[in-house]
Amino acid sequence: MVFKIKKNNNNEIDHQNQEFSNNEYVIECKNLNLWYEDTQALININIEFRKNKVSSIIGPSGCGKSTLLRCLNRMNDVIEGCKIEGEVLFNGKNLYASNADIRLNRKKIGMIFQKPNPFPMSIYDNITYGPKIHRVLDKDILDKISEKNLKRAVIWDEVKDRLDESAMGLSGGQQQRLCIARALAVEPEILLMDEPTASLDPIATQKIEELILDLKKEWTVIIVTHNMQQAARISDYTCFMYLGELIEFGETTQIFENPQKKLTENYITGRFG
């Protein structure tokens, strides 16, 4: 009974929140600067990402787009010699505050990597790894979680009969969707994607793109891509970065059709990059 009440409450609150905060910023960077050893990789970044939208970050190689993305769930912490100044606000709280819980924030902000990185274990174990980390140990619940998230990532039909087989045996595109399912299994609020289709063939890429458009209904997606067509196809907002600086940020149609800065226009039209 208690659970049921909780469920109703949760749903109501979630519903309200969604209505209420539909156009709110879920994650904001304020005066963000980052150095690797002596080289500055991010210069005074100020940006806000909207809830339930797909935002893409584009720019030439080495412009700091992946670095910026990795700042959003503190994956830069593992890199030695990396120094960060400024604030990243997630639901209004600074991720880099001394009392911030890195692991809880990472649970709430999922990440998909450039190269599919399923763990060298079975498909089922891959999906349930996250929930187990977060103290879900009931076998029935884990079964339900794995089914639900494999369906969310539209890979359930392909793997439902071989959940116990190694995930390393899947194709690249399947591996990437499995990684998305794995990230979803810990119920994040935001999905960060670091060039998720860079190592995939066109058909697998198309499937992932369809999936991203589908995910938008429930999650906020921030995607780094060096494929401008991809950014134009799937994102609501686009941000262009160059040499560690944020050059322009706005609605995708505006960025691609009517860029305000010369640099953006040059890049969009393929004059460099």
């Binding site: 659970f3 909780k6 469920k7 949760n10 749903n11 769930n73 994956m75 593992v78 030695e80 819980d101 692991r103 809880l104 924030n105 990472r106 649970k107 709430k108 999922g110 990440m111 990597f113 190269k115 990185n117 399923p118 763990f119 060298p120 274990m121 790894y129 996250g130 929930p131 980390i133 977060h134 103290r135 879900v136 009931d138 619940i141 339900k144 979680i145 089914e147 639900k148 369906k151 969310r152 390393m168 045996g169 990684c179 794995r182 990230a183 299994a185 810990v186 119920e187």
Partner: protein
């Protein structure tokens, strides 16, 4: 997507109670792992501290000058001149390297550059077998085969000699040289080779002019490591050298009986009383040995580190050359560097004049040195005309040095003339012909290496099999001090010691390896720990044995027992396990760690649930290799665990025991008429070790196939 599951999920993963995330155990885990890693380094210092503090009274009683330069080693009459022992050690090692270096380098070239994949695997396995054969089995092979051959060929009373020792050591140093050389050659990037082929070079020209020069520092490290391996070898030397504490007479007589540091300790430690001057003298020898190997290992590690950095374009190499430029730009130093060849020649010649006793050897010896140093220091800078002259001079003086007689000189002159003819002919050959010739040399060396394994295994099996198949040999107890009966207690003793050592070393080693690969930052402390572990790896087994005595028995107060033996052996195999763990953990892609962290796991959760399971094949391989090594070692247990009277199975870990290696040692050394049983024991030991090594090899092979990331 039913609502029911959503509900369940929300309950389980969207609730607000994440208090468990607040408990951050990471710092404790990190410090605990750091502790494990430090223990390994700590032991290096304990070895130094205990050997020196226990051996120090010796230097108070015997002047350093007498110890290092006195020529009589007669502890019973209070003479402690270890000079002959040092010189003998150098000579035996030198003799071994002359054989092992060319053989090893050519075999490595074959394995890395020429062999088809299947043959490569077979050859590598063969070389690994060679590395796995226990030292005492080599010694036994020397006793029953090599010594007999030398006795017959040179018509001696006793085949035990410097020559015999050098030959055995050459075979034993071969696997080290081959494997390190092969790594060095394979480390040379393929685009070097492609660039050479693209200019129309033959395969041999590419190997000779591009691959070998590029891999030169790795090859040098291989040679240095080979020296370390040869210097630290103990048990085989106790059986084949004859153990006479004197200089060869004349100094070039390879048939004379000599003694090296390690064999002196192993053979004469037993009867000495604890703390007596003779025992302290042996400790002093061990200290010298320890520092010699320390020097050799440090050198090779420095070289190997530079090799790795070289191909990765690391900054450190640039730093090094800057440092060098700084020194070399100084004009006086510049001149000195220019004449380094000349200076080295003068210094080495002076040394030789002092060491060699008679005039003839003096002349010949200085000839070698001038030749060798010219070759070594400045070959590329002299004109081709002199190069050829140096080649001949070197060949002439070497052969003259070996024979040291007028006939020898005559022989060497004719051989040199022959070489001259062949070389002249060779220079006329086309590049393809040259390639054919050198490939012939390479093939011959590789075949020779395989042949050695074949000969050793053939003799051990053919001598041992009849005894091995006797009913009751494996299951019976020994009779008549082991001349008859079975070896059951020795088998059990070896298994106990092996199990004990792995129990001690595995947890310590795995945790230390994980610390080094996952937590250690590349700072001074880490470098220090790594250096400690590397040196522990190169420390001779007899030094471990003495450390076991002075630390566990004298200092802690335990008695000679399975426990002490296991600890000593465990310490010896610790570096192997640390290194293999570290390497297999490092081989796991970084993306797995990132994937785990991105789900909100702690660092250690990722390590324990993903990294370690994926690294298990590597860790298993390392531990099995360690077990093989600890089953085959004699020197560390000689004074810590075994007793010749322990001819029963001991069930308590606080009692001494019998072991296969020790049984083989005493049967072929102390017990007359024990050779027959010794052969059976050698075969049993060989089988045990080979089974372990094959198991490790198969695990690795399977793992390599399965690995998909």
């Amino acid at each position: 997507m039913s609502n029911e599951t959503v509900f369940d999920n929300k309950l389980y993963l969207l609730h607000d109670d994440f208090s468990y995330l607040k408990k951050n155990r990471e710092p404790y885990i990190k410090w605990a792992l750091f502790g494990f890693a430090s223990i390994a380094t700590l032991f290096v210092f304990l070895i130094i501290i205990f050997l020196i503090s226990e051996g120090a009274p010796f230097f108070a009683a015997v002047p350093l000058q007498e110890f290092f330069f006195g020529t009589n080693w007669l502890p019973d009459s209070d003479f402690y001149g270890a000079f002959p022992i040092f010189i003998d050690s150098i000579l035996v090692t030198f003799g071994a390297l002359i054989i092992a270096i060319p053989l090893g380098i050519f075999t490595a070239i074959f394995i890395a550059e020429l062999a088809p994949p299947l043959l490569r695997k077979i050859l590598k396995f063969t070389i690994e077998i060679l590395a796995g054969i226990p030292s005492i089995v080599y010694g036994f092979f020397g006793v029953i085969v090599l010594n007999v051959w030398i006795k017959d060929i040179f018509q001696l009373h006793d085949g035990r000699s410097w020559l015999s020792g050098s030959l055995i050591l050459a075979i034993m140093a071969l696997p080290t040289i081959v494997s390190v050389c092969e790594d060095a050659i394979r480390e040379v990037p393929d685009y070097y080779r492609e660039a050479s082929y693209a200019m129309g070079a033959t395969k041999w020209q590419t190997i000779r002019r591009v691959v070998i020069p590029a891999g030169m520092s790795g090859i040098t490290a291989a040679v240095v490591l080979g020296i370390g391996r040869a210097m630290g070898e103990t048990m085989a030397m106790t059986l084949v050298l004859g153990n006479k504490f004197r200089l060869p007479d004349p100094l070039t007589n390879m048939l004379s009986q000599v003694a090296v540091i390690t064999s002196t300790i192993a053979l004469t430690w037993g009867p000495t009383a604890a703390g007596s001057l003779p025992q302290l003298g042996l400790l002093a020898l061990a200290i010298v040995l320890f520092f010699m190997t320390l020097l050799v290992n440090t050198t090779s590690n420095i070289i190997l580190n530079r090799v790795q950095k070289k191909f990765r374009g690391d900054l450190a190499v640039k730093k090094h050359s800057k440092l060098r430029n700084l020194f070399v730009s100084n004009s006086i130093l510049k001149k000195l560097v220019k004449y380094k060849q000349l200076m080295a020649t003068i210094i080495i010649s002076l040394l030789i004049f002092w060491i060699f006793p008679d005039l003839l050897s003096k002349i010949i010896g200085s000839g070698i040195c001038i030749g060798a140093s010219t070759l070594f220091w400045g070959r590329s800078k002299i004109s081709p005309k002199y190069k050829r002259f140096i080649d001949y001079a070197l060949g002439l003086s070497f052969i003259g040095w070996v024979f040291s007689t007028w006939i020898g000189i005559f022989l060497s002159v004719s051989i040199c003339l022959l070489i001259l003819v062949v070389l002249t002919f060779f220079r006329e050959l086309s590049t393809v012909g040259q390639q054919r010739f050198w490939f012939g040399v390479v093939y011959t060396c590789s075949i020779f290496a395989v042949l050695m394994v074949g000969i050793i295994i053939f003799y051990i099996v053919s001598k041992g099999l009849p005894v091995f198949l006797e009913p009751g040999f494996l299951t019976g107890t020994p009779k008549n001090s082991g001349r008859e009966g079975g070896i059951f207690p020795a088998i059990i003793g070896t298994l106990q010691l092996t199990a004990g050592s792995i129990l001690f070393a595995l947890p310590l080693g795995v945790f230390a390896g994980i610390y080094l690969s996952e937590y250690a930052k590349e700072n001074r402390i880490t470098k220090f720990i790594r250096a400690g572990i590397d040196n522990l790896n190169g420390t001779p087994s007899i030094v471990f044995g003495l450390f076991g005595v002075v630390f566990f028995i004298v200092f802690i107060g335990l008695t000679r027992s399975i426990l002490v033996g296991s600890l000593t052996l465990g310490l010896m195999i610790l570096p192997t396990i640390i290194r293999t763990t570290e390497e297999s953990v490092k081989a796991i892609p970084h993306s797995f760690r990132a994937g785990s962290l991105a789900l909100g796991s702690s660092k250690f959760q990722g390590i324990s649930k993903i990294i370690i399971p994926a690294a298990i094949p590597g860790i298993v391989t390392g531990s099995v290799l360690g077990m093989g090594r600890s089953a085959g070692e004699t020197a560390p247990i000689l004074f810590t665990a075994v007793k010749s009277t322990a001819q029963y199975v001991s069930l308590s870990i606080f009692e001494p025991t019998m072991a296969l290696t020790y049984n083989l040692f005493r049967l072929s050394n102390e017990i007359t008429g024990g050779l027959e049983r010794a052969a059976g024991t050698a075969l049993t030991l060989l089988l045990l070790v080979l089974i372990l090594y094959s198991f490790a090899f198969i695990v690795r092979l399977k793992y390599e196939k399965k690995k998909r990331w």
